[in-house]
Symmetry: C2
Subunit: 373 residues, 2 copies
């Protein structure tokens, strides 16, 4: 069999990620590779760190990008902070809360699950109740923006509760970073991870993370070594540390880091507040159009993510056939439902570069045409 | 502080990796991102799998690319195959053998270390002896091409010994894949991992791996779940499996996978035998020139890797100053010594696209000029 170069089509990516990539980011991605210990590369990494701190709204020194996708960022937070026997409160209102629970178990921790309905935000009352029942819990883990449902939870309130009770937080900000307000320092969050391929509109494969000093202290006073060598942040710290000589840990994904740098330069140039505002405005346009088409949202208006719009399928519709038609006729990708919502909902992303009028217009018109049959 | 786009210089990369990237690969990298569940992407992944099987010379169905660098590929092999209490023979003749030992320990395994001098290949006699002392060992782990020294070990002989004694092998082929003969099936190797950024001349960030049926059987009959969610290959298998519906595990690093696909198309077009031959010829040219400059090799001629040439520094030379001069005056990167060889040796890579006459000529002339002072 002869295999030729793969030439992808030009899709409009309005699923749950990867999102539409900024053309400038693809350009940056293909720049000449240099060594990961080259002084110029190390200078780029220092800039990247500073840009990540801006994106996360934090002064945390330990703010880096894990050289792997968001699920590895999640795992980095858990394996570094959870030790065998630790009690962890895990809020579960979708797929990624459940994945957090699995991480706790694989670290030998005891997961106390706080369940909310799929499509609902995490209930602050339930979290408070769980804290009172389990005052010895070490960490509260929750998803800020649930990619499987489109629900936004109140990270500020959970952060405050955790601090009141001397607990750490692990926060999934994969879909929230760059799309909705996230203020790591002001909200007193401890370990926060994200993904490059959502509202940052960078290529998939990197996971920005930030650890508060409290989290770093916990990492540095562990009883047992971290079960993962690759994700052991005490080893990675050496490579990313402020100045001077970098010690070799692993070969950094040089070109992907160029791309992340570029996407964060674009974020900084637009300004976080403007970016959040743009996501909100595009969401309003899309939501109005979707409702005109008779589609209803999975999530109530007050906890709806602008960047991830989950709507129920009209009854008796062939989910796969419709999405396939959008893809083949309009080169438009929207997402299917995940987990409990599989076959029942679509997920329409308006993330980063994807949150613009032409995408909203294309999506609404294409859906209208396809739904008419 | 204003941060602008990062524009790297054009370096010639002759260190231990990342290596010079094929221009075609950088081009493929920047193609339009499509969704990781897009049918066209899944078709690309099927091709990629077939190309990886060619590169590894295997028919193993479970031949994939881990979405993270080579050290995660290493970890994927260990966390999936090693369970607490398992006895593992680990051959250590450089940095990466030691990293294997650390992986065993972090999996709760018992590492029996077989030490050889840095710069020597793994001693087959010692392996045989260790097998006789520890007939209950489950796995023999070794590095095929030690990137820290440039020593090539006899993977075929170790593979045969392992099979005779009903043990599995875990093989580090990070630097060997594409540079020297590696025949996974013929040599009966069980779990083999590599990196994208060495002799494949692709960007860093991916780790090709292959698991034999015997290794898959061990994974599928584990007593305990794999400690890593991200690297749990029983979950990943669903995504890469032969045909039909792919289940979502994590968001694949789409663009990096385009690049790996392209680099493997180039490998297949050149042909493995031709590639190995080219590495050998360029090495001979380089070695002759280095010896003319009075430099001596760390590794004896019969176990020297063509793609990774470690030579001792002339006495009284300032390692950092020389390498810095090569970098700033000639845009040429060569590698420093690692671990026991830090400050004592250089590592000159001739990997993939980097193994060509113009690179050899540049390196020899620049070194000659710089060493003259």
């Amino acid at each position: 069999m002869t295999i030729n170069s793969f030439i992808p089509p030009q899709r409009t990516l309005m699923g749950p990620g990867p999102s539409d990539i900024y053309p400038q980011v693809l350009h940056a991605l293909s720049r000449q590779t240099i060594g990961h210990l080259d002084p110029l590369f190390i200078g780029m990494m220092d800039e990247l760190k500073s840009l990540l701190k801006y994106a996360f709204q934090t002064e945390n020194e330990f703010t880096v990008a894990i050289s792997a996708p968001g699920s590895a960022g999640m795992e980095a937070c858990f394996v570094n902070l959870v030790e065998p026997g630790d009690k962890i409160l895990v809020c579960r209102n979708g797929v990624f809360g459940e994945r957090m629970r699995e991480n706790v178990v694989r670290c030998g921790g005891q997961a106390i699950v706080i369940d909310d309905e799929w499509g609902s935000p995490v209930s602050i009352d339930k979290v408070e109740q769980a804290i009172h029942q389990h005052p010895d819990a070490k960490i509260i883990a929750f998803v800020h923006a649930e990619t499987s449902t489109g629900a936004l939870s109140d990270a500020q309130a959970i952060g405050a509760l955790a601090k009141q009770h001397n607990m750490l937080t692990i926060v999934d900000a994969v879909t929230s970073l760059g799309g909705v307000p996230l203020r790591v320092d002001e909200w007193q969050l401890d370990a926060v991870y994200s993904g490059s391929q959502k509202c940052l509109s960078c290529v998939p494969g990197l996971s920005p993370v930030t650890f508060s000093q409290a989290a770093v202290d916990v990492i540095q006073s562990r009883r047992a070594p971290v079960q993962s060598w690759f994700l052991d942040q005490s080893l990675v710290l050496g490579y990313w540390s402020g100045e001077g000589k970098r010690s070799y840990h692993h070969t950094a994904p040089v070109n992907s880091l160029y791309a992340l740098h570029e996407s964060l330069v674009m974020l900084k140039n637009e300004g976080l507040e403007n970016t959040w505002q743009r996501h909100r405005e595009m969401h309003n346009l899309l939501a109005e159009g979707l409702e005109d088409l008779g589609l209803t949202f999975v999530v109530d208006a007050d906890s709806r993510l602008p960047q991830l719009n989950a709507v129920f399928l009209p009854e008796d519709l062939d989910d796969g056939a419709i999405r396939n038609q959008l893809l083949t006729e309009y080169n438009l990708e929207i997402g299917s439902g995940l987990g409990a919502l599989a076959g029942k909902a679509w997920r329409i992303g308006l993330m980063g570069y994807g949150a613009r009028k032409e995408n909203v217009a294309l999506c609404l018109k294409a859906l209208e045409n396809v739904l008419k049959g």
